[in-house]
């Protein structure tokens, strides 16, 4: 009795149920070293049938690559180049105004650091996130707009030696400065309202961002 139970348990753990029926039929073909080639012939027979089925169900399945690339849009992105030495109130102000813009516009944002310095970074992060439960508007701003990323290449490319620096870019993919084409850059500690005011003097399209930021509600 015990042996039988053990045997059943052994079988159960060795072969999952879905494979058990097929094993005896196909096991001979597995002895052949050139298994894949033989199986290909078997597969080709069934292709038209399966292809029709798949095309009916998922019309874009063979066109997924083109579909995805054509659908890509350029997203307006705001980059804030910072370091751990920037005061936290300045950082909060930028986040709050980005969060305000995000209510109406589809905007990406990221805060870019030059390099990973563990000690200073951990101190800075703890300082930022301290006592955040009391301030609800700041809490939502941190949730929506905060994204720290690291990009030493763009610091070199844009010749950034002092922080903070604000930049406006159009990105096709992820919010990462070295992958995007950066349109406008303003060096020094500037608020986002001032930043968009200065940009809208050059290009009138960005006036709406400025108007949104100076709204009272």
């Amino acid at each position: 009795m015990m042996q039988k139970i053990l045997f059943i348990v052994f079988l159960f753990f060795n072969f999952p149920l879905f494979a058990q029926n097929n094993i005896n039929n196909v096991i001979d073909s597995f002895k052949n070293r050139y298994l894949v080639k033989n199986q290909l012939n078997y597969v080709y027979k069934y292709i038209p049938q399966y292809r029709n089925f798949m095309e009916e169900k998922y019309p874009n399945i063979f066109n997924l690559y083109n579909y995805y690339s054509s659908k890509k849009k350029e997203f307006p992105t705001i980059f804030y180049f910072t370091s751990a030495s920037v005061p936290k109130q300045n950082f909060y102000n930028i986040l709050l105004s980005i969060n305000k813009l995000k209510e109406t516009y589809q905007i990406q944002s990221a805060q870019i650091f030059k390099d990973i310095e563990f000690k200073s970074l951990s101190k800075y992060l703890k300082k930022i996130t301290k006592n955040r439960e009391n301030n609800t508007s700041l809490d939502t701003a941190l949730n929506n707009a905060m994204l720290f990323r690291f990009d030493p290449k763009s610091f070199k490319k844009l010749n950034i030696t002092k922080v903070p620096v604000l930049a406006f870019a159009m990105c096709k993919g992820d919010a990462y400065p070295s992958d995007c084409d950066i349109k406008y850059i303003i060096r020094g500690d500037v608020s986002l309202t001032k930043f968009f005011f200065l940009i809208s003097e050059i290009d009138n399209n960005y006036l709406s961002y400025y108007q949104k930021l100076i709204e009272t509600q």
Partner: protein
């Protein structure tokens, strides 16, 4: 006699798989640092993966301590070094040869025929060694794997690497990959992988799910059954990558390679943010990069240029190749307790 040796080999394999034969080292031994691996790593695209979000997450363990509330973050690190070599028992990444046990195995008729590649996989979390030397406690801020070197796999002593009959006993899911639906799966998997390579660091849940769902498909490498060593002479690097993938699949099934990225397979998402979990093979979690003889980019598995013809002119490693396998991780900063 044959039976005894065979059972011994299997025992060795199990021991290797469990990580019992390993050498945990507190500091990096200079001799064991793979030659040329540091220059071969693609750190530029690795920077893209490091993200720290503003959303808080709490990890409750046993008692509420200070620092268990943290921020959500994402990370990548070089975790495994895998190599495909022509000579048996030759470790290309360490530039050394193991003792001549090949002759013994050849007598028993266990060693595979000429022309096929041998695959070795070594756990080598390089970043943790680098940080250990600078005496920075980074377990809370950036949760890299703990420093330990383990030789996980050698295809020379694994009979299932050249006998499909044994492989099918270990992984019955091979049936999926050679079925008609496997062909369609590999087509879809290939398109998903190539689109993900565009913005490699961007998280797209639909594409991730398709990759994870067709875990048995080999991407753009075509219709290959997991872990088969069939195309040994035609495209050896494709077989090497296939065998590496199968090893990742097996090891994650045993629970040795852990799931550290949130996916459709794990239902309780909070566990991933707080600690690593034993689970299924998450294809999206593992990224492959060619390190030697030429430095490649970090790519989704199944899209690396693995053809032998690409590297034929480069004679610096005599036709051998070293791949670095990167591991992604979702975790809670200041509260992650996984370590692996």
């Amino acid at each position: 006699m044959k039976k005894i040796i065979f059972s011994l080999l299997i025992l060795i394999k199990i021991l290797l798989a469990d990580g019992l034969i390993n050498f945990n080292t507190p500091s990096p031994p200079q001799a064991l640092i793979p030659n040329g691996i540091f220059t071969g790593l693609d750190f530029q695209s690795a920077y893209k993966f490091i993200k720290i979000y503003g959303t808080p997450n709490t990890c409750k363990v046993s008692s509420v301590k200070d620092g268990l509330v943290g921020l959500k973050a994402h990370l990548i690190e070089p975790y495994l070094i895998a190599e495909a070599v022509k000579k048996p028992f030759y470790m290309r990444m360490l530039e050394m040869k193991l003792k001549n046990s090949a002759a013994l195995l050849k007598k028993q008729g266990v060693l595979s025929k000429d022309g096929s590649k041998y695959v070795h996989i070594l756990k080598f979390p390089i970043i943790s060694y680098l940080l250990k030397s600078s005496q920075v406690n980074t377990n809370n801020v950036l949760a890299f794997a703990k420093p330990s070197i383990i030789l996980y796999y050698m295809s020379e002593i694994d009979p299932s690497s050249w006998k499909d009959f044994l492989k099918i006993k270990m992984l019955p899911e091979i049936f999926y990959s050679i079925s008609p639906q496997g062909l369609i799966a590999s087509l879809v998997d290939c398109t998903a992988a190539t689109t993900m390579n565009f913005d490699i660091a961007k998280t797209n849940k639909y594409l991730q799910n398709t990759r994870d769902m067709f875990f048995y498909a080999q991407g753009c490498n075509g219709l290959l059954s997991i872990g088969s060593n069939n195309d040994g002479q035609e495209a050896p690097f494709v077989t090497a990558i296939n065998m590496i993938q199968s090893n990742i699949y097996e090891m994650s099934r045993y629970g040795i390679y852990k799931q550290s990225v949130e996916s459709m397979f794990n239902k309780d998402k909070k566990q991933i943010w707080c600690s690593a979990e034993k689970g299924a093979k998450i294809k999206y979690q593992w990224l492959i990069q060619l390190a030697r003889p030429t430095k490649g980019k970090i790519l989704q598995s199944g899209t690396t240029s693995a053809l032998f013809q690409d590297l034929k002119n480069n004679a610096s490693t005599a036709g051998d190749a070293v791949f670095v396998i990167w591991k992604q991780r979702d975790y809670t900063m200041f509260a992650y307790q996984g370590g692996d």
